[in-house]
């Protein structure tokens, strides 16, 4: 018996309201929509408190909907199985915490040159098991209704999934007797339609595997992309295993109205061990333990002299290289040394590449903003306003706090306005053309050199 989930109390109130509406329309509701939108119909005979009974009906329908989505989702993610215990060929723990599941193992659909796609009837049965179990979890022995004075007696739910062209019917056979001191009601069955055409998708995978077995030595990526052509579905594959001979394939089916796609996952295995000498796979980077280059934060250099920046990365025997090579980096430690007196004030973009002992590498950009100012260059004052509306007229002046080092020669890198080179005044009218974010690069030059500032602002609708 599941514990009462107090979090569902709020839902109960909603279901009471919905339940009334449900009954008013004679217990028949049909949700229409695309791909995954679910329609239901149910049989419910009731006497007594209509609101609670209607609520329970809505609750059951909602649970069936949730369970159907979760069940199908989970079976697809498990390659057509709710449980992989009885499956002969399984790629175990393919990825930890992948797809929000604590474990992630998938069956091989192709191994040893043979096709191991389960029969569609078997997958349908797995859908039924998964939906039923998720339904039970969702119902939670009507714990959400605890305290309302009703007694619930129910049978085990029996789910029947019928795949048809264009979608799937999910039938729930579930005897429920709900009674209180002054009322009772019975529920027997409900049915819903999920516009998720699994037959279509199954046949696509079947077709791909048929092509795959014709050429068992290599991943038939062209065949897979062909079977998905024009469907709006897409796939990705991950190379796994020491020889890269295990592939995890995920096919994504976008589901309108849902955050997550249905993901149909399965594994493919190839005999590529013999290829190693031919291919000399020296960069067999896998997805489990790649070289990691941690986010390279922009480096703001504001002081004269030697400056240091530590590139953070993870991996074995890493070698750090910077491009262009005008920047000095310790190839073993990743420590960058820069003498700001060698640079004029500007933004410089470099690329850092980190390579491990197996020649796996990662590269990332490092932006160095050099703006050294000992007080004898323009010190910009920040603008107060950074949001403008369409229709605004902007009249602004770029100010510096150390006017005594002037005169300055001002520039602004933008197409929005021209800046007066002496007074630093600029103006423009904000039109709808400018909706969105903007960044302006200001610079000021005096006899001692150049300093600069970036101004970020946003234009919003009136």
């Amino acid at each position: 018996m599941a514990l009462i989930n107090t979090g569902k109390q709020g839902q109960v109130t909603i279901f009471i309201i919905l339940g009334v509406l449900l009954l008013i329309v004679a217990g028949f509701i049909f949700y229409l929509g695309s791909e995954n939108i679910i329609g239901t119909s149910s049989s419910f005979e009731t006497l007594g408190d209509l609101s609670v009974m209607g609520s329970v009906g809505g609750f059951i329908g909602s649970c069936l909907e949730d369970a159907s989505y979760l069940g199908i989702s989970k079976v697809l993610a498990n390659g057509g199985y709710y449980s992989l215990d009885e499956v002969d060929f399984v790629l175990e723990n393919a990825l930890e915490n992948y797809n929000d599941y604590d474990f992630f193992s998938v069956p091989y659909y192709f191994v040893g040159g043979e096709d191991f796609l389960p029969e569609i009837e078997d997958i349908t049965s797995e859908f039924e098991i998964a939906i039923a179990e998720n339904f039970v979890v969702c119902i939670d022995d009507f714990a959400a209704y605890a305290g309302l004075g009703h007694v619930f007696e129910s049978s085990d739910p029996i789910i029947t999934v019928t795949l048809v062209e264009g979608g799937s019917f999910v039938d729930l056979d579930y005897y429920l007797l709900m009674h209180s001191d002054d009322s009772s009601s019975e529920f027997e069955s409900t049915e819903m339609f999920i516009a998720f055409d699994f037959i279509d998708k199954y046949e696509q995978i079947q077709k791909f595997l048929s092509r795959q077995t014709e050429d068992p030595d290599a991943f038939a990526i062209g065949a897979l992309s062909s079977v998905l052509r024009g469907t709006g579905y897409y796939y990705e594959y991950l190379v796994m295993g020491e020889e890269g001979s295990e592939l995890l394939v995920n096919v994504y089916y976008p589901v309108r109205g849902q955050t997550d796609d249905f993901v149909y996952s399965f594994a493919l295995s190839y005999d590529w061990g013999t290829l190693e000498s031919n291919l000399n796979l020296t960069d067999d980077e896998d997805s489990v333990s790649p070289v990691i280059l941690y986010n390279l934060e922009d480096w703001d250099v504001v002081d004269y002299g030697l400056q240091y920046y530590q590139v953070e990365a993870k991996g074995d025997n890493l070698v750090y290289v910077v491009s262009p090579e005008t920047l000095d980096i310790d190839s073993e430690s990743g420590l960058i040394t820069l003498d700001s007196s060698d640079y004029s004030n500007a933004a410089y973009l470099y690329f850092i590449r980190v390579t491990d002992s197996e020649n796996r590498s990662v590269e990332g950009p490092l932006l160095i903003n050099i703006n050294v100012n000992e007080g004898d260059l323009a010190i910009f004052e920040e603008f107060e306003n950074s949001t403008f509306s369409v229709g605004d007229t902007i009249n602004m002046t770029l100010s510096v706090s150390n006017e005594e080092y002037g005169p300055y020669y001002f520039t602004a890198e933008t197409g929005l306005f021209d800046i007066d080179k002496q007074s630093a005044e600029f103006s423009f009218e904000v039109s709808s053309d400018e909706l969105g974010s903007h960044q302006v690069y200001f610079s000021a030059e005096n006899e001692n050199g150049v300093s600069w500032m970036l101004w970020d602002f946003e234009v919003v609708a009136e």
């Binding site: 992309s225 594959y237 991950l238 590529w272 290829l275 470099y350 933008t414 234009v459």
Partner: protein
């Protein structure tokens, strides 16, 4: 004929011997080694008769008198016995007599005697000069002091002419002779004679015929009777004749092609190979061939059509091409595979229908790590093409594969394979042991016909470009039907789709520069203005259904393409630009189908966020855009430098809107001001304006008031 000449030579030698050491009968037979004629050589009146009867004794008794007899009557040299005695006594004088009467060598016996005397003298010279290097060279004097005899001998013996009497020959052995001079060489006269066409020795020492000049080195004859040329330089000549064949070993060949410039129409081949010119003037080479100026070595067989560039050739049979700079290996096994590395966008024009073709275009960047295009087109005849390369290719394409296969492997510097892809017919595309990111390519396209449809399989990376974060990099190859759903599919898979309702987006934003500021800034505009496809230029489809194109990137004045810098370029740090991922404003025969803006009848406006894209003189690629887009009405861009951070705003403004809008100007860091400007089309004429009021007709300096009806479309 050669046997007859040899027999005559032997007979004459026997006669010579008989007259020197012993007396023989008139046929040179039945010799008596103890024979002495007992002639009284003191009787001057009978000297002549005695000389004629016993010339050998005459020379030994009084050589001067004997030679006087011959000088007085040169025809005596036609007598084999006298001639033998003369050559035995003094081959140089004998040669001098023949030089006066080269016609004597019309008699094969005389010719053979002269030849034998030359060989004999040469052998003696060798012996003599071992003892005394200063000793004069008899053979050389026989030849070079007697040019008429020399010329007659070479011509009649071997069919070889002399261009000039000053030609110096030496060291004749019977199988070899050496010409002196700047381009002198050693050659087997018989080998030289085997080279088709008239052959002569030039005064610079070179051996020449109408097909080629042989400068320096050595020519011999192989077992198949083909001339083998070692160590020198062969200059193939214009107007060469059919059937020219030479085996080259370690030498150089300056071949002849009609479209090779800058090297006197002579592409340079080095190495060891057979060189043939066929009946059409095409060059065929088979062996180990270096094309140094092209930076490649070809192991196997190739030929070069007469009218092709030096960077165009055909790989035949089982042949491997190796690029020196990066060790890229292209192996073909099949019939004939056309190959071009001509650095033109239209290089594919070299391809021939019915034959496999490889287009390997370096591009303008000058980096050995990067090449613009590797396109394998129309693979036919069961050809198998295998490529291993460490190079990053902006475009990697397999187009219209008919029959055969292509495998491409990206390799690291040590040659280890990082990723391998194999392409067969249709969607027979396979991967072995890698994810797609291991393929060093900006985009991979496999395109083929399927019924009435053209199918594209596509993948792209974000590598080698500066921005790697804005677009997704998906480890999958997507497939779409060209002309149907490629724009949508590629945007969904690799770009962004910004929807405004359910309708198909009306605008396609093409990111082809260094940063995504403009594309990102447009996202909010797209949501309220009909939606957008935002695409990296590496994911451009061939066709668009959009009405508006927004194109970002670098653009040089008077060019018809935009581009981005490669990731390693740091302009503030003093680097030069390295333009990659060029996107042209129109198609071109022989170019990649995916190096250009997508074509579409629906396109009405093209908006650039790029420098120098709208000028008053129209030299900005407008002509290409106009011919590419039938319904194009407006182009907007920058007259001068474009700002880095730009929000393009509303597209397709009419004149009034432009006039009412704030003029957009921009001053770059050098203080140079540029303006946003527009082209508008009126009938077949384009006008330029930057204020919506004054319009200048392209191609003239006439400035008129802008006609609002034009931009209104009314």
């Amino acid at each position: 004929m050669k046997r007859i000449v040899l027999l005559i030579v032997i007979c004459n030698l026997l006669i010579i011997c008989s007259t020197i050491a012993f007396a023989c009968d008139e046929f040179g037979l039945n010799c008596d080694v103890s024979y002495d004629s007992g002639t009284d050589w003191s009787d001057s009146e009978s000297w002549d008769d005695n000389f004629n009867s016993y010339p050998d004794e005459a020379f030994s008794h009084d050589s001067g008198q004997a030679w006087n007899e011959i000088y007085n009557d040169n025809s005596l040299m036609q007598d084999p016995v006298i001639r033998a005695a003369a050559f035995a006594d003094d081959p140089v004088k004998s040669s001098a007599v023949l030089n006066l009467h080269p016609e004597y060598m019309d008699d094969p016996a005389v010719l053979a005697d002269f030849d034998a005397a030359l060989i004999s003298a040469g052998e003696q010279d060798v012996l003599d000069q071992r003892e005394d290097p200063e000793k004069s060279d008899t053979q050389s004097r026989m030849l070079n002091k007697n040019p008429a005899a020399k010329e007659k001998w070479m011509k009649d013996s071997f069919g070889i002419d002399m261009s000039d009497s000053s030609v110096v020959l030496r060291d004749y052995t019977g199988d070899s002779i050496t010409s002196e001079g700047e381009n002198g060489l050693s050659f087997d006269p018989k080998a030289a004679a085997s080279i088709p066409g008239d052959v002569w020795v030039d005064k610079d020492g070179s051996l020449r015929n109408e097909n080629a000049y042989f400068n320096g080195g050595e020519i011999s004859l192989d077992d198949n009777g083909v001339a083998v040329y070692k160590g020198g330089t062969m200059d193939v000549q214009q107007g060469n004749k059919e059937g020219f064949i030479v085996v080259v070993e370690g030498g150089k060949v300056n071949g002849y092609r009609e479209r090779v410039y800058g090297t006197d129409s002579r592409p340079l081949y080095t190495g060891s190979f057979t060189y043939i010119i066929d009946e059409n003037g095409n060059e065929h080479l088979n062996g180990n061939i270096n094309l140094d100026s092209e930076g490649v070595t070809i192991q196997g067989e190739m030929y070069s059509p007469k009218d092709s560039y030096f960077s165009d050739f055909v790989l035949v049979g089982e042949t491997t091409l190796i690029q020196h700079a990066d060790n890229t290996q292209i192996s073909v096994n099949g019939k004939e595979v056309y190959y071009t590395q001509t650095n033109y966008r239209s290089a594919g024009k070299f391809c021939e229908e019915g034959y496999s073709c490889i287009v390997n275009t370096p591009g303008s960047g000058g980096s050995v790590d990067y090449r613009e295009r590797l396109s394998i087109i129309g693979v036919s005849n069961g050809d198998m093409i295998e490529i291993k390369s460490p190079v990053f290719y902006s475009h990697l394409e397999v187009i219209d594969l008919q029959e055969g296969s292509v495998s491409f492997s990206s390799v690291n510097a040590e040659g280890g394979v990082l990723g391998k892809m194999t392409v067969g017919q249709g969607d027979d595309i396979t991967i072995q042991g890698n994810d797609l990111s291991k393929m060093k390519a900006g985009r991979i396209d496999v395109q083929y016909e399927e019924g009435i449809n053209t199918i594209l399989h596509h993948w792209s990376s974000n590598d080698y470009q500066k921005d790697e974060g804005y677009f997704s990099e998906r480890n999958s190859m997507v497939s779409c039907t060209v002309n149907v759903d490629c724009e949508q599919t590629l945007a969904q898979s690799f770009g962004k789709v910004i929807k405004d309702g359910d309708a198909e987006p009306k605008t396609t934003v093409v990111f082809s520069g260094d940063n995504v500021y403009t594309a990102r800034n447009m996202e909010s505009w797209c949501k309220n203005n009909g939606g957008c496809y935002i695409l990296n230029s590496r994911d451009l489809p061939a066709i668009t259904n959009s009405e508006n194109l927004v194109v970002t990137g670098h653009h040089w004045s008077e060019s018809n393409y935009v581009w981005r810098d490669s990731e390693d370029v740091n302009i503030p740090g003093g680097d030069e630009h390295n333009p990659i991922d060029k996107v042209y404003f129109g198609g071109l025969k022989g170019s990649s189908p995916y190096d250009q803006l997508p074509q579409g009848d629906s396109v009405e406006t093209v908006t650039f966020s790029a420098c120098n894209t709208v000028w008053g003189n129209g030299n900005t690629g407008l002509k290409e855009l106009d011919s590419y887009y039938d319904n194009l009405e407006q182009v907007q861009g920058w007259d001068g430098t474009a700002p880095l951070h730009e929000n393009v705003g509303d597209l397709g403004k009419d004149f009034d809107e432009v006039a009412d809008a704030r003029p957009l100007t921009y001053s770059n860091s050098k203080g140079i001001t540029s303006t946003r400007a527009y082209y508008y089309k009126e009938g077949d004429t384009w006008s330029y304006t930057n204020d919506g009021n004054s319009c200048q007709k392209i191609g003239s300096n006439i400035v008129v008031e802008c006609n609002p009806a034009v931009a209104d479309g009314s």
